[in-house]
Amino acid sequence: MDDKQLGKVLTVNLHDYKVPTALDAPADKTVLTVDLHDTFSSTGAKGVGEPATIPTAPAIASAVFHATGLRLTDAPMSPARVLRALQAQKPAPAGQKKGGA
């Protein structure tokens, strides 16, 4: 994060640049690995590191939508941002269901 007055970076350490840790993940998650032969690589192998980062923010955004009915499009979706969006929200028309698919 940059200071908007002088443009200097403010989050220069890991106190201020808050990378989530293992304690921020749900304790009861289930991991399913799917064995799938990749026909596009010479060995049939597929990378599993980077692909997992692509759907993460949309998954969290969908969870926020499911819980609140709000579509947040800026990451991180911090509690303060969710609260701000909730407070800015106009009352939903009667009968409209919040969230869910």
Partner: protein
């Protein structure tokens, strides 16, 4: 780059006080904050006076009046795990267990936790802010999502300690030693608001240091707790927290002390709320009144207004548990 500095490790408290009275001398206990401050050039040190040889400042022991004496060099981890503290002063044990990370709790001391410098990114960064002798607080009109909503003015830091609000709630006393001798200060009077002095966070004078934390004898029927809300589950400072020490008798609040962390430059006592609830039976109506009163006078900056409902929420939660 760390500047060069002298290093001394005195064997007696008197010698430590003498060395700390010299200009540019800095006390070293656990060093977890000192090294960061020196690296970030928050301040400079001509001489680092290590207190680590002063065995008399270490350890937890009962006092003659039935309370507890915690030496200033006692680590945060020892306090979090101590049987008498977890049993009789739960707010302090809980606060200690929520400080920083396991490594920092093993290294950091209670004296250092009370005397640590604020974490404001302008104060820690390359800004000549009021707390460093400059002319403005950059948090006003800057990036202020973690800053104060109470007690601001010349500076809008929040006090970073978790143990401090617990000690204020438990009515602890701090023993200090300095060139003019020893003195005691109630924990609630140890911290300084920016409008009184924006350059320091505590009443410590040049050459003075905290030697002991004194807990009063446990009060019959008293319960205490500390709740910390932070942005992530590990190693984080409080966005807001609440320490309380309470006595409920026959359904009514006989006594309560409520102290917030993370929202003001000092541990922020909710005296008006205490007054409101003492003598009353806690019910939904009283809780609603209390949470409204708690945030009267709050002055959120542009990005930290979320702390207002957060304070109300943690107070509601704490009072609800007393029913």
């Amino acid at each position: 780059m760390l500047e060069t500095f002298g290093y001394v490790r005195p064997g007696t408290l008197a010698e430590a006080v003498r060395l700390l009275s010299a200009p540019g001398a800095r006390a070293h206990a656990g060093g977890t904050d000192l090294v960061g401050c020196l690296r970030d050039e928050v301040f400079h040190a001509k001489a680092v006076v290590s207190l680590t040889k002063l065995e008399e400042l270490r350890g937890i022991a009962p006092t003659a009046d039935g309370g507890l004496r915690i030496g200033a060099l006692t680590t945060i981890a020892e306090i979090a795990a101590h049987a008498a503290i977890t049993a009789k002063y739960a707010a302090l044990a809980q606060a200690a267990s929520l400080v920083a990370s396991p490594q920092l709790r093993n290294q950091g001391t209670i004296g250092g936790n009370l005397c640590q410098r604020p974490r404001c990114w302008y104060f820690r960064g390359d800004y000549a802010c009021t707390r460093k002798g400059g002319e403005m607080c950059y948090a006003i009109g800057g990036e202020n999502q973690y800053h104060a909503i109470f007690g601001g003015g010349a500076c809008w830091i929040v006090h970073p300690s978790d143990t401090a609000p617990a000690l204020v709630a438990l009515d602890a006393t701090l023993r200090l030693a300095g060139p003019k001798g020893a003195r005691t200060v109630p924990a609630g009077k140890f911290f300084v608001l920016p409008d009184d002095n924006a350059r320091k966070e505590t009443v410590l004078e040049a050459g003075e240091l905290v030697t002991d934390v004194l807990l009063p004898p446990p009060v019959a029927g008293q319960t205490s707790a500390y709740r910390k809300v932070r942005a992530r589950g590990s190693w984080d400072f409080a966005m807001a927290g609440l320490a309380h020490a309470s006595i409920v008798k026959a359904g009514k609040v006989a006594d309560v002390r409520l102290v917030l962390s993370g929202v003001a430059p000092i541990p922020w006592r909710l005296q008006a709320v205490e007054k409101l609830v003492i003598g009353q039976k806690i019910d939904a109506k009283l809780i609603a009144k209390a949470t409204e009163l708690a945030v009267v006078g709050a002055k959120p900056l542009e990005q930290n207004a979320y702390k207002v409902p957060l304070v109300r929420g943690i107070l509601e939660e704490a009072l609800g548990k007393l029913i």
